[in-house]
């Protein structure tokens, strides 16, 4: 999600909430006989508010699972998740009095820091990378289908090269004096397309089958362009179009590779953020019950 002007109200509200919380916390901390405590009335209030923010942020997953829920727009939920989730960190710090406490509370503090930090990191990525994706992978496809599309590109390239080179098998006629004229011309054509076949066998097919792994010649756009320019100088006029189409297929493959990489950046942080946030919510419930008891 891009953080743009539509977030202004949320930003302003968050700033106000943070300001009010700070204005309450500072005198409370200064005048508490034994320092700010999570179990004091104000400490409990901070804890309740912070937990409510975290629960709301966690409910985004449920909202996404049930899109027909008519409880606000998905964008509003997302904005709430971002801003209230971010606010939960200082509110929880105010609740804890900036102390880590015992084993359970220390783990909770570490979790909340990691979850919020990863969320901020992810929000920054989600703000900037989509544009990068559009610029670097205009031929973007569905991420889960990248491998499937790759297979189709490889098959298309195979078919292209076979059509251009593989159909003309030289037929050997036994006879007086050697090969026939037709065969002789086919052999000559085959020899002219050898660079194409060789280039395809040595560079293009391995590249299309690599799945974007490794640093091959065609992995780099500039080096690929130079390579294909060199190939075109060796190809007859009839094969120029094949060369161009092969180059385009290689460019598509590079875009798929970039798309895949950007996708992992865009969503990889969720591998940490989501599991840890579930653990955080669960342990938070345990903490709430036991802290109220003791």
């Amino acid at each position: 999600m891009r953080i743009d002007n539509t977030h202004k109200k949320w930003f302003a509200a968050s700033l106000i909430i943070f300001g009010v919380a700070t204005a309450v916390y500072v005198p409370y901390a200064a005048h508490s006989p034994s320092g700010p405590r999570g179990g004091s009335a104000i400490g409990l209030t901070f804890g309740t508010v912070g937990s409510a923010f975290m629960v709301f942020a966690g409910l985004l997953a449920a909202r996404k699972k049930v899109p027909v829920w008519r409880l606000g727009r998905a964008q509003s939920w997302m904005r709430g998740h971002l801003w209230l989730g971010l606010l939960s960190l200082p509110i929880i710090f105010f609740h804890a009095g900036f102390k880590f406490g015992g084993p359970l509370t220390s783990v909770l503090m570490v979790l909340v820091i990691i979850v919020v930090a990863s969320g901020v990191f992810g929000a920054a990525l989600q703000h900037y990378l989509p544009r990068v994706m559009t610029a670097q992978a205009p031929g973007e496809t569905i991420f889960e289908q990248i491998d499937h599309v790759r297979e189709q590109l490889a098959a298309e390239a195979d078919h292209l090269v076979q059509s251009a080179t593989g159909a003309a098998e030289p037929a050997r006629e036994e006879g007086r004096g050697g090969l026939s004229l037709a065969v002789q011309s086919e052999v000559a054509l085959d020899e002219k397309l050898a660079p194409l076949r060789n280039f395809y066998e040595l560079e293009v097919r391995p590249f299309l089958q690599s799945g974007g792994k490794g640093q091959l010649l065609l992995s780099d756009s500039d080096r690929a362009r130079a390579a294909f320019e060199g190939l075109r100088t060796l190809l007859p006029t009839g094969a120029q179009e094949t060369g161009k189409r092969l180059e385009a297929i290689c460019e598509e493959e590079r875009q798929l590779h970039r798309e895949s990489r950007i996708h992992y950046w865009l969503h990889g942080w969720l591998m940490m953020h989501i599991p840890l946030s579930f653990a955080l919510l669960l342990l938070g419930c345990v903490h709430a019950i036991t802290a109220l008891r003791y």
Partner: protein, 445 residues
């Protein structure tokens, strides 16, 4: 670069329409991690539960004093039958400690934990924050009669008044005349007439000092401050100076000779005891020296007028009475009067000696420990001692002297209230009967 023709239709035809039925490994990993993380969290909590330990729920490390109870949460967190809450209540504290009230007129009594907060790490529980005290003393309100204490103290550096003993109009109530300046001057006449230079510790020492006094007597038992005050708590034997006593500190230089016939001194005691001593002493003497009953009168011969020598023959009682009278005249009007305030009646009765009123402890509401300050020279704090001529001078250091070291900041000595003041009135301490066992706190078999 002209590429292969890619219409929207062709692009769409590349997609397997059932792809969403087969989750991508990325999503699968994310799902299982989302299951595993909370599961690990539950197992972690459950492990403590199986082990029968509640330490995972602890709010932090215990203080030094209570570290031995770290594994015994219910030593303090007692759960009432039928109640969910198991908060540490004052009753739990009082089961092991007595916490006498601070003052009968205090407006409210805070909970134990509001000042002594546990689970804050290895710290001294008694080292309370100033705000524990200033929650009352920053705006002091009392029940009953108005208080004479300052009402708006924020901390040692803000609002703390000058020490009561040094406020304007305060004088030393002691009646013993002592001139510190004279005693500290150079070439003072020593016990044997030799010139000496006295030092502070020739008179002022802690009760347990074993160093021999340079000009003192080995006799005379040390008197602990605690014995002279009504403070039942144990105080370091080196916290306060032992009271200066005549028998120990003064007798070597200030003898109580009363008659040239005797080298001994009168006892340092009440006038009645001295009188009885004098009578007995002179009676003993005249019994062994009857010749002195015949006294030649004083020689009043003038150069041109010789007079007959007067001869007096006294009875023993008369002789004793005259000698006692002369001795008492010397003692009451000179020797004793040099230090004591005497009121001598006109009818010849024995004088009344004012009580010495030497203050054993100048700050009854604050603790002080000389031992902790022995790195300093005495006169750094008791600056007036070298120049004090009057008994009424109070030679205590003022609050400004203490603030030179005891102030807030990383370069200051401890300046919080607890360093000098105690909330609990320990004179009202009650005994507590212990109820815990070693096995009960996990320290025995």
């Amino acid at each position: 670069m002209a590429g292969p023709e890619r219409t929207t239709k062709k692009l769409a035809q590349r997609i397997d329409l059932t792809y969403f039925k087969r989750p991508h490994p990325f999503r699968t990993w994310r799902f299982w991690l989302s299951v595993a993380a909370p599961l690990v969290a539950i197992l972690w909590i459950a492990w403590y539960g199986v082990a029968g330990s509640n330490r995972v729920y602890s709010g932090g490390k215990m203080s030094r004093a209570h570290a031995v109870l770290a594994a015994k949460c219910d030593a303090c967190h007692l759960r009432q039958t039928g109640s969910f809450s198991a908060k540490a209540s004052d009753q739990a504290c009082l089961a092991c400690h007595d916490g006498p009230i601070h003052h009968a007129n205090q407006a409210f009594t805070p909970n134990c934990s509001s000042c002594h907060e546990e689970h804050q790490g290895r710290m001294r529980l008694a080292a309370t924050a100033d705000v524990s005290c200033t929650q009352c003393h920053a705006n002091l309100r009392t029940t009953g009669e108005p208080t004479h204490y300052v009402r708006d103290i924020e901390n040692f550096g803000a609002g703390h008044p000058e020490f009561a003993a040094l406020r304007p109009g305060a004088v030393d109530p002691g009646t013993i005349k002592l001139n510190h300046a004279v005693h500290m001057k150079k070439n003072l006449k020593g016990p044997n007439g030799e010139p000496v230079q006295m030092d502070c510790d020739d008179c002022h020492r802690p009760p347990t000092s074993t160093q021999p006094l340079r000009f003192g007597s080995a006799t005379g038992m040390p008197v602990l401050i605690a014995q002279k005050s009504d403070l039942p708590i144990a105080i370091s034997a080196r916290a306060y100076m032992a009271p200066v006593t005549y028998a120990k500190h003064c007798v070597a230089c200030h003898g109580l000779q009363f008659d040239k016939r005797f080298t001994e001194s009168v006892p340092h005691d009440t006038p009645q005891v001295i009188h009885t001593f004098l009578v007995q002493r002179f009676q003993q003497y005249i019994a062994t020296h009857p010749a002195e009953l015949r006294e030649l009168g004083p020689d009043r011969t003038l150069p041109q007028k010789p007079l007959p020598v007067a001869l007096r023959v006294l009875t023993p009682d008369q002789w004793v009475a005259e000698r006692v009278s002369e001795s008492e005249e010397l003692l009451w009007r000179k020797t004793c009067k040099q230090c004591h305030a005497l009121s001598i009646p006109a009818d010849g009765a024995l004088p009344t000696v004012a009580k010495s009123n030497i203050t054993a402890r100048w700050m009854p509401h604050a603790d002080f420990n000389h031992e902790r300050h022995e790195l300093l020279k005495c006169t750094e704090c008791h600056a007036g001692a070298l120049t004090s001529h009057e008994t009424a001078d109070i030679l205590l250091p003022g609050i400004a002297t203490c603030e030179k070291c005891h102030h807030s900041g990383s370069d200051g000595a401890e300046a919080r209230c607890f360093e000098c003041h105690t909330y609990h009135d320990w004179t009202k301490q009650k005994e507590v009967k212990g109820r815990l066992t070693l096995s009960g706190i996990g320290r025995g078999e």
